[in-house]
């Protein structure tokens, strides 16, 4: 109990910082953000994409427990639902504050534009949120309901559609060649699974450490494989993205890629994205000898790296000035740096996801044994987990 309270102090403080950022944004509006008319989407959008994609990744991995009989997946299905819900709530917090007029969301229902990717994002992620709330509710009340295979398959389709559409929001913008193209939805799906696996690894480790269970021992090899393979695919996709960008005939695509590898975003790209986010985790997972701590370290680095992958992805496409009139270019790169209020909101979102999950873990029964049978009642928790 004391240990739990101690660990929850940090996220609670982060949430407090986020609340201060929220109040400041509500009072002073966009003036408080680092965004401009030239770079209208900043770290809050990146943060939303990070949390929404991670929530989908967690849901995809844990959701396999609902539709397959693989015991490793079943063992994390309840935790996965709560973790996904915590991450999605954090993402919704960021997007809600980013929107200038969130109360007008009613028009998404009364005056929908089905051609708009953001409309579909609202629809698909609302469905996902609804299904997560139901999953979490039934996991506590009637856990056997979670194992309806047909509903499970429908929910997985919802998750895949939601995260692919998240990529499509950017991919349909022909005026932003760095985003434009068919590969982005697939990239978003792969990186969502990567961030989901990393978030699950960190969570399972923290829970096992706290409760002294053997959960981590039984599940970590499977999660390690998922994270490892998606890390390698992401690395390959990133190499392809750079190669393609540097050799592209399109000025904007070439310049955005240059911004990443040798321009204003270079230090973040090489150090945080490539080295910490992808290469070191690959080494930790595939080259160094297996140990849970190494896998957890790799997951932590991956999560940090993916956050900056999202940020650079959002920023790189916008800092390249659009050529409206041939021969006129106002600047080589527009500038964007996140403001204090934006960082406060990001801290708040991270804190909220940890706090909501932590409280759920402590107050509710999130345990399932390795065979997927749900453990009923807190009194038999430890025994069942040890059996797994």
């Amino acid at each position: 109990m004391k240990s739990f309270q101690r660990w929850m102090v940090i996220p609670a403080v982060m949430v407090l910082i986020g609340i201060i950022g929220t109040i400041a944004k509500l009072l002073y509006g966009d003036h408080l953000l680092g965004t401009t008319a030239a770079v209208p989407w900043g770290i809050l959008i990146a943060g939303y994409v990070f949390f929404a994609a991670a929530a989908t990744g967690v849901g995809l991995i844990a959701g396999l427990g609902h539709v397959t009989s693989i015991p490793e997946f079943a063992a994390i299905e309840k935790r996965g639902s709560f973790l996904a819900l915590s991450l999605l709530l954090a993402g919704f917090w960021l997007i809600g504050i980013e929107l200038g007029n969130p109360l007008n969301m009613i028009y998404i229902v009364i005056s929908p534009n089905l051609q708009s990717g953001i409309w579909w994002m609202g629809f698909l992620y609302s469905l996902y949120m609804g299904s997560l709330i139901l999953e979490c509710y039934y996991s506590q009340v009637k856990p056997e309901y979670l194992h309806n295979r047909y509903i499970g398959i429908l929910v997985i389709i919802n998750k895949v559609a939601a995260v692919c559409n998240l990529g499509a929001i950017f991919a349909v913008l022909a005026n932003r060649p760095f985003w434009y193209g068919y590969y982005l939805p697939a990239y978003m799906l792969v990186t969502a699974v990567l961030s989901g696996a990393a978030a699950l690894i960190v969570t399972v480790y923290a829970v096992s450490r706290e409760q002294g269970s053997v959960l981590a021992d039984s599940i970590m090899p499977m999660l390690r494989k998922v994270m490892g393979y998606t890390l390698v695919i992401t690395l390959i996709l990133d190499i392809w993205k750079i190669y393609n960008g540097l050799n592209a005939p399109d000025y904007a695509l070439r310049t955005a890629t240059t911004a990443l590898i040798s321009g204003p975003l270079a230090w973040r790209f090489w150090s945080l994205e490539i080295v910490i986010g992808l290469m070191l985790p690959v080494i930790f997972v595939f080259i160094l000898k297996y140990s849970i701590k190494r896998v957890v370290a790799a997951a932590g680095m991956s999560l940090a790296g993916i956050f900056f992958i999202r940020l650079d992805f959002i920023v790189a496409a916008q800092i390249v000035p659009q050529i409206v009139v041939e021969g006129i270019q106002s600047t080589i790169f527009h500038s964007y740096s996140a403001s204090l209020a934006e960082w406060a909101l990001i801290a708040g979102a991270f804190g909220a996801s940890i706090l909501v999950y932590g409280v759920s873990e402590f107050k509710l029964n999130l345990k399932s044994d390795k065979t997927g049978n749900v453990v009923l009642g807190p009194h038999c928790r430890a025994e069942s987990i040890k059996e797994g």
Partner: protein
């Protein structure tokens, strides 16, 4: 139904920015918000170099990407060609700003991504947009392309016109006079 459009002869522009100020007055904009801007470029090689000024504003595209991406239909296109915004429907997602290939949207103090309105509500009464009527060199001509007797229709017959970033496929309603023709 009128089909409104604008023809801009950039070679006549002196860069006085009266168009911008007139627009700001018309719509009571704050000094940091402007619906039209001037872009400057150098043309030619030394010693025969000259500066060209290109006025830029919302192109009121026939295939406007800002309308396509707007999740609530806050951005809509009227039958007479004007692309307008219903502020009461705007959720402030800024997708329209990101999608616009002309960088013409500006966020106002209420968080609405605003832009040139072709002076909707004013032109129907027979008035000319202030950016047109204020210009001392008659850089802009505004009118109804469906009316063969309108000044813009006549001028379009006389000059060779082009559209900015036509390769984006947005079919702009703002035309530019090709200089030297």
């Amino acid at each position: 139904m009128a089909q409104y459009a604008m023809l801009i002869d950039a070679s006549r522009c002196t860069g006085c920015a009266a168009c911008r100020i007139a627009c700001q007055m018309q719509w009571q904009l704050t000094p940091d918000i402007f619906f039209n801007r001037l872009e400057f470029r150098e043309n030619g090689k030394y010693p025969n170099v000259r500066q060209e000024i290109v006025p830029i504003q919302c192109m009121h595209c026939d295939d406007p990407p800002c309308q396509t991406v707007c999740p609530t239909r806050a951005t809509y296109k009227r039958q007479d060609g004007l692309v307008l915004i219903d502020p009461s429907k705007c959720i402030g997602c800024k997708y329209c700003i990101v999608a616009c290939p002309y960088d013409v949207r500006q966020i106002n103090e209420r968080g609405i991504p605003e832009k040139c309105r072709f002076c909707a509500g004013y032109i129907e009464t027979g008035g000319q947009p202030p950016c047109v009527s204020t210009c001392m060199n008659e850089v802009r001509v505004f009118g109804d392309l469906d009316d063969p007797h309108s000044e813009i229709s006549k001028r379009m017959q006389q000059v060779k016109a082009y559209q900015l970033a036509a390769d984006k496929g947005t079919k702009p309603r703002v035309y530019y006079v090709k200089s030297g023709k």
